[in-house]
Point group: D2
Chain length 345, copies 4
């Protein structure tokens, strides 16, 4: 940590600052420049996590040198993590192909879509039973009934399943049915929920918040890891921006940036990132080309009757065509699509 002092700092203020730093068991190293004096802190910076050095008189700015996450950092774990979702591997050259409807709507829909995406090459089935809708008047999900349908569809079509959890009181219930928890973008900094899933032993798909930096995302992953659950897969799904013609702005550079900082796998979700079926295939290809460990796509066989986000879903035929292109690209890049251990019934 570096502390830049104000141009009019007094010797007394400098002494006071050094006292504060040393009282925490750290060393302060002074560097007097022509215009400004800078103090370098030597020792374990995490001792300063709860100490607002910016509020000490004479201090102009505090600059952290090390990222504030540890367990998620590449320094702590130099090899890429490979996460195992009931047999499907994500990371280290193995790709996730997650697909399914936004919401679980009925057994018929889920069965049909599950069959179609498995046929097209998906290896994990998704579907929401608890939906975070911006309107209290919109369809909120089938709840436990939805979990049962999703589980049955995954089993029938031989794929592990992933579903969103929103309420810490439902983590146990969801865990009974799912192979992987999803934490949605709106809950990326719901630290209560992150702690709750960190205490389970199932993998977590953690979506980036709409205005979270890559480091914020890694800090949220750290919450899960710090509880003892090392199985986190990150997901880039677009950030807020100024162009109203897409739902979000797909930040493909987040993929290589994450790889520079962390060992955790990161996949992309072009469905939410763009909100437009006409842009999804191009962005899925871009994500894979940028090094993503998988692709998350919403698929619906009758988008106009979908109960949630139908307008951004691909048709099964469109998904099959895209999956074909993604396989070609994966081969060029030397990556593999992990095959599920389950067998379609």
């Amino acid at each position: 940590m570096l502390i830049i002092l104000k141009s009019d700092v007094t010797e007394q203020q400098i002494e006071h600052l050094i006292d504060r730093v040393e009282s925490l068991g750290l060393k302060a190293h002074l560097s007097r420049g022509t215009f400004r004096t800078v103090v370098g802190i030597i020792g374990d910076e995490s001792k300063l996590a709860s100490t607002p050095l910016e509020a000490v008189p004479g201090v102009s700015k505090v600059i952290p040198v090390l990222p504030p996450f540890k367990l998620a950092s590449l320094e702590a774990h130099p090899q890429p993590s490979v996460i195992d979702v009931a047999g499907v591997k994500i990371g280290g050259g193995q790709l996730a192909m997650i697909a399914g409807p936004c919401a679980v709507e009925s057994w018929e829909r889920m069965d049909a879509i599950g069959a179609a995406v498995r046929e097209a090459g998906a290896n994990i089935l998704r579907g929401g039973a608890f939906k975070p809708r911006t309107s209290p008047y919109a369809f909120q999900g089938l709840e436990e009934e939805g979990l049962k349908i999703l589980r049955a569809a995954g089993d029938k079509h031989g794929m592990p399943v992933v579903t969103e959890v929103m309420d810490p009181r439902r983590v146990d219930l969801v865990e009974q049915y799912t192979d992987m928890f999803q934490i949605g973008a709106r809950n990326m900094q719901n630290f209560v929920l992150l702690t709750a899933v960190g205490q389970t032993r199932k993998p977590v798909l953690l979506k980036r918040g709409m205005s979270a930096t890559v480091k914020d995302l890694l800090m949220s992953a750290e919450y899960v890891l710090a509880q003892g659950n090392p199985q986190v897969v990150l997901c880039e799904r677009g950030v807020k921006s100024f162009d109203p013609d897409t739902r979000n702005l797909f930040d493909v550079a987040a993929v290589p940036m994450t790889k520079q900082l962390s060992h955790l796998p990161i996949i992309v979700d072009p469905s939410h990132a763009t909100g437009r079926p006409d842009l999804i295939p191009a962005c899925a290809m871009a994500g894979l080309a940028a090094g993503a460990d998988g692709v998350h796509i919403e698929v619906h066989d009758c988008p106009e009757k979908a109960l949630s986000d139908g307008s951004q879903a691909l048709l099964p035929s469109q998904y099959a065509e895209l999956a074909e292109q993604l396989r070609g690209l994966a081969k060029l890049l030397g990556k593999e699509i992990s095959q599920p251990v389950g067998v379609p019934a």
Copy 2:
């Protein structure tokens, strides 16, 4: 709702769309332009909340005409709401002066700060017992012990209190001690939590999310109102932007924009909006001048020892000076600072 059709839409697609709309009990009104055809929907648009018309073949764009919130809208309640926080009024010309430390740290600190802010003119005391920290390694709050200290300080100094709740499992606990719930920016779209506080009968201070539009904020208020709790006070606290020299970007125009859309009071929080004590007084004055129903300020008597966000707190003396200026401005604007019914011990 208006539906703009694609330039190459077929007559069959138009018929199919009209069938869909009419099957929901609505009427469709066709308008054929030179270049595009537009369909207007006549009837109760809320029937379409779960229907993705954008996914219907031939549709180019769907444009809502009415805002998606109802209970929060000015049309539903043309007079400004006045929220009563244990005797302190917010809205309709009455101003909240909420002040206190970011976190409750100890009885001594809370007692001293409580005395100072009441002396300076605050009418509601704030303090966090559960803290949403981005790092799992940072101070997370004193929990129930903190709630007891806050309650005691409020009682001693004759002020109602407000404190953040993060976990739906703790709503009952927090309700026992507080006069007003705070929902933090990171939980603005934690719909589970919004529903939980909507089921209580205490006022809710709802902070705007970092990348939420004003309409998103009103949709979140709608979640609380829809549960039967009409006592919501909104709070503008800055949004994410590209200038790293402030913590957030203070969106003062959100104040008059909210007044155009809703009857709910809105206050400003320049502490979080800027993160810089040197900018807080100017932004507090700006908020009041723009029509805000109050000001929320973090105050700490020893910022450099604060366990959370000390670097953005005002000193009690700075707060007293600002409060004096705010009183002058309130008088010019014809507003009153509601006086607490409690008497300092």
Copy 3:
């Protein structure tokens, strides 16, 4: 300037870096921390302006300690500058009240609006003769004819005038007619144009670019100052954001932030910042309360027939009402509205 080295930096790389720094006549001061080594640069940092130290092997990050502008900085000129626009003072407690139509449309309009805004209390008349329109098919301004009309209206109603210049080839022409140049937001980093107006001896109203930080704005002012023209007035006019319900996001905190960094006056333009007449008065009041040195407002007596941006103009009667409120606030704040020396004919 601080240089943070990579964790795996070699001694050879450190030596090479120190050589590079010393070859520029600067000193390097090494500080070896537990995890990272940091190099402080001692001496005149401007020597490094064209040296990409980030590209030197072993370097992780370069952190400037001093802002890159000089003439615009408060350190260079600790007292607020007062800019004189043909007798009207801006800065140091004196307020600009700039008003007029977006574009000069005809003598009749300009004459009527000039009379109305002077009557309401404006002290500088604005009007565009060259318009930066996003569409090549929209009205582009009356050019020299417009300059003549604006000049005549200013003279008749006893006010100095300000008008936009877009083309370095027209600076001489515009200078003949105007008392102050305006550089529009889209040209804030048109360095050719900044240099051209820097070589004149007339004041410059420099509008902030849509995605420029406050420091970017000050760097653009530095271009004008560096040519020998010290008469720059800055203008906050909103930045791009994600809420489509306003044209831009009014960054009122830019006002006090500028005051912390620079001696140059800064005014606010709520017309462009919001694009909505229903929000302009509240934002004008907010700007003044935050410490702005004036307010720039577009006024049109028949907005629906305006040839440019009519939808964001106030009516003369709305402007008069707002000006009355601004005068009350100015008095409370101990500021004066500078009176023009000219006398209405």
Copy 4:
């Protein structure tokens, strides 16, 4: 165009609006909904470009149905345009590989870098002779001397050249030396400059502004096209965002979005989009995978001595490795890298 009326609009206001619309030779079509009345405009919307219908009493909102650009639109020109830069084709399946240093610094550097990038597979050589630097104290370019060096290096190594023009007074000069004009991001809405290059007969590489939407970019292209110069290549180079860890946010979805709207080719510039050599290769691959018509990369053989933006340049060896990967991806996608007609000396 659709006009949504206010809920309290009067019949008189509706009549007045219809009169206004009909006086422009257009037809108004009324649609009375349950809550709101909507007016559809039938006829040539461009007649409304200078008419602020939002300012007409009783109007709540105006919604354009058609995009405001014409010559740039896919409807005007359904086949992809292929731009010819002195023999190198861009668009319609042919890819640009533009490479070179940020600034032209000397014959020796330009010669060496030119040889290296041609060897690696570049087909157009770039280099700046006029540099838009944010600081007036930074290196501003070699001007005409730089143009001569670039031209000579292009000729010697058998590549066409592209260079930035910033000043309308220098368009003629730059045209003598270059095969393609570059308009930089900061000048994307410098309409004077766009008009000037629109009057030449050389292709234009138009970079997207830092906070411009895709439609804004197309409107700026329209300025060039409207002057009679149809040879425009667009360039995505990142937009402003909130994460300080990259220079800009690379908006890869802009590539397929442009393809939905326009026939003009679009390339990507990951150098400026990220500002980080460690992210450039991944983003270049992503751009191509998303459908871009080429890649623009800054290359320098000694980045630490570069006079401008050295810290974001790739080394020639890094560029060669990336070019190899891009060729593999191009082949997979069925695209070709157009070969220059010139022969290296």
